[in-house]
């Protein structure tokens, strides 16, 4: 009998305690915001879409190797001697044409492992998180500054240069007595 009355009392009392809590919350301000009109400020270290400053990229391929999901694909072509690619912002001389630098954001897992190895700090995570596309192919971002025809041109230049070097080597090997020409200086 005592159990019965205790159950009844507990049933009523705990319900009233719960009701008091929800009633108190009825008058507290809401913690949600109305998203598209109001957006929360993002902290500084936030990890969203990547951005590559292609002018600073030296084509070292470290970021692509660090990526766990292989979403960065880089293709480079060596510059022929005499071409000046300019310098990166911290003074390094660039020696490779970056013909392809694609990041597929459908694969990127936003882990930030590519940011750390970059020697020139040209790949960074930005604050952009609203970049949905209608087609999956549009999520494949191309960061390279060379368009297709320029890329093909650079590649052809390099292959021609290689072929010439090969021909010279063959000619030099075929004429052992002939004086060696000065090897062309490569770059500066």
């Amino acid at each position: 009998m005592k159990e019965y009355l205790k159950n009844t009392w507990l049933g009523v009392w705990t319900v009233l305690v719960g009701m008091k809590i929800t009633f108190k919350h009825l008058f507290q301000p809401a913690v949600t915001i109305q998203y598209p009109d109001v957006k929360l400020p993002l902290p500084e270290r936030v990890r969203n879409r990547l951005y590559v400053n292609i002018d600073d990229c030296i084509g070292c391929d470290q970021c692509s190797r660090a990526c766990p999901v292989s979403c960065i694909s880089i293709e480079t072509v060596k510059a022929i001697p005499g071409e000046d690619l300019g310098q990166t912002s911290n003074g390094k001389k660039k020696a490779l044409w970056v013909t392809k630098f694609d990041i597929d954001f459908a694969k990127c897992c936003y882990c930030q492992l590519c940011v750390f190895p970059c020697p020139t700090e040209c790949i960074k995570m930005t604050e952009t998180y609203e970049f949905s596309e209608f087609r999956r192919q549009d999520l494949n971002y191309h960061f390279s500054a060379l368009n297709t025809s320029e890329a093909i041109e650079k590649k052809n230049n390099w292959e021609k240069f290689q072929a010439e070097k090969e021909a010279q080597k063959a000619a030099a090997a075929a004429k052992p007595a002939a004086p060696q020409q000065n090897p062309k200086t490569e770059g500066n």
Partner: protein
């Protein structure tokens, strides 16, 4: 009201029809308001905002949802029992709408001023059970049937404590008619039955705690009658699917919900008539003090509606606070706790009313 209308139109049938259809003009705006209120109350209790875009703070959201439901395809599976399947939502709605006939909205409007008001209400709300069972059976779905049977068992069991409390009130007040009950609780809110009634004396003092118990018992069993949490097994989980209205889509589904909210208001209104003075105002009538006597019925409608809406708000408050009970615990609660307490209450109030 009926006489005034028949004088106005000169045709008794038309007057009867208008008189019977008038609560629809109340129910539909009420449901629109109640659904919005539920969403806002639930949102603010959970520290969030709720609908905000469709109209000021989202008050048009219900209307938008209604339009969406109307234009939905009415999917009727081929194996159902078509007659019962189509009839069930309407039967459920009729069961809850018929209760409005006996509710006194003001001292000059009551759908049907029968002397057996309370008895009629309990009787006619049993139609809902028939509708639910029809819906469960006709859906040709094992789980709908389970859900419907549970819901029917729940409603039928919880009618017993309701009836016992109403019996106690009838013994104490001496009348079954809702209009007369509201009339008795005039002139100040200390005359309300929750405080013991209009007859001052020893009986009023003695009956006070038992009236409170009676009100609590009535409120809890009315929660079970309308399938609200913590007794919302038929709606929410019901084992694994959505219960007796799984197979319904579009307008029929809207009918079920219309009838649920209508039912919520109906039982809240009965609770307020029985214990809290019905359409009587706690602070006197502005119409009377200003001398505009025709304003008084409108004020009474206002007080009636607001008391009903307040109890609907408490129902919503309970929904968002409490977890659900399991079906066997629901039955235990009814038969082992509510009914003994209701019996004891009945006997004691009966004894006190002899004083």
């Amino acid at each position: 009201m009926f006489e005034w209308l028949s004088d106005l139109t000169g045709n008794q049938i038309l007057a009867a029809f208008i008189s019977a259809a008038l609560p629809v003009a109340f129910i539909v705006p009420f449901v629109i308001f109640a659904v919005w209120l539920e969403r806002k109350v639930s949102a603010h209790m959970q520290d969030r905002l709720g609908p905000m875009r469709v109209g000021w703070h989202g008050w048009l959201q219900t209307i938008a949802d209604f339009f969406k439901l109307i234009q939905k395809e009415d999917i009727v599976s081929s194996e159902v029992d078509k007659k019962f399947f189509n009839m069930a939502p309407y039967l459920v709605f009729i069961g809850s709408y018929a209760v409005y006939a006996a509710l006194p909205f003001s001292n000059s409007y009551i759908g049907s001023n029968i002397d057996l008001g309370l008895f009629y209400i309990i009787a006619v709300s049993g139609l809902v059970v028939a509708g639910i069972l029809m819906a469960g059976w006709a859906s040709n779905n094992k789980y709908s049937l389970y859900g419907a049977m549970r819901s029917a068992a729940q409603i039928v069991s919880y009618e017993i404590p309701t009836a016992l409390v109403i019996l106690a009130m009838v013994m104490f007040t001496g009348t079954l008619s809702l209009a007369k009950l509201s009339d008795l609780q005039t002139s100040s809110f200390w005359n309300w039955y929750i405080f013991g009634g209009p007859d001052w004396g020893w009986s009023k003092l003695l009956v006070l705690p038992f009236m409170l118990v009676a009100f609590l018992l009535f409120y809890i069993s009315s929660l079970a009658e309308v399938n609200r949490t913590p007794f919302d097994l038929p709606e929410a989980e019901s084992e694994l699917v959505a219960g007796y209205h799984t197979e319904y889509s579009g307008m029929k589904f809207a009918m079920f919900f219309l009838s649920e909210y209508g039912n919520m208001f109906a039982v809240s209104a009965i609770a307020s008539v029985l214990f809290f003075g019905g359409y009587q105002s706690p602070i006197g009538y502005i119409g009377n003090s200003l001398g505009i006597s025709w304003l008084v019925p409108f004020e009474q409608v206002f007080w009636f509606a607001s008391k009903g809406i307040f109890f609907v708000f408490v129902q919503m408050w309970l929904r968002w606070t409490l977890p659900r009970v399991r079906v066997d615990q629901l039955m235990t609660l009814c038969w082992k706790y509510l009914i003994p307490y209701a019996f004891v209450n009945l006997i004691i109030i009966g004894i006190i009313s002899l004083i």
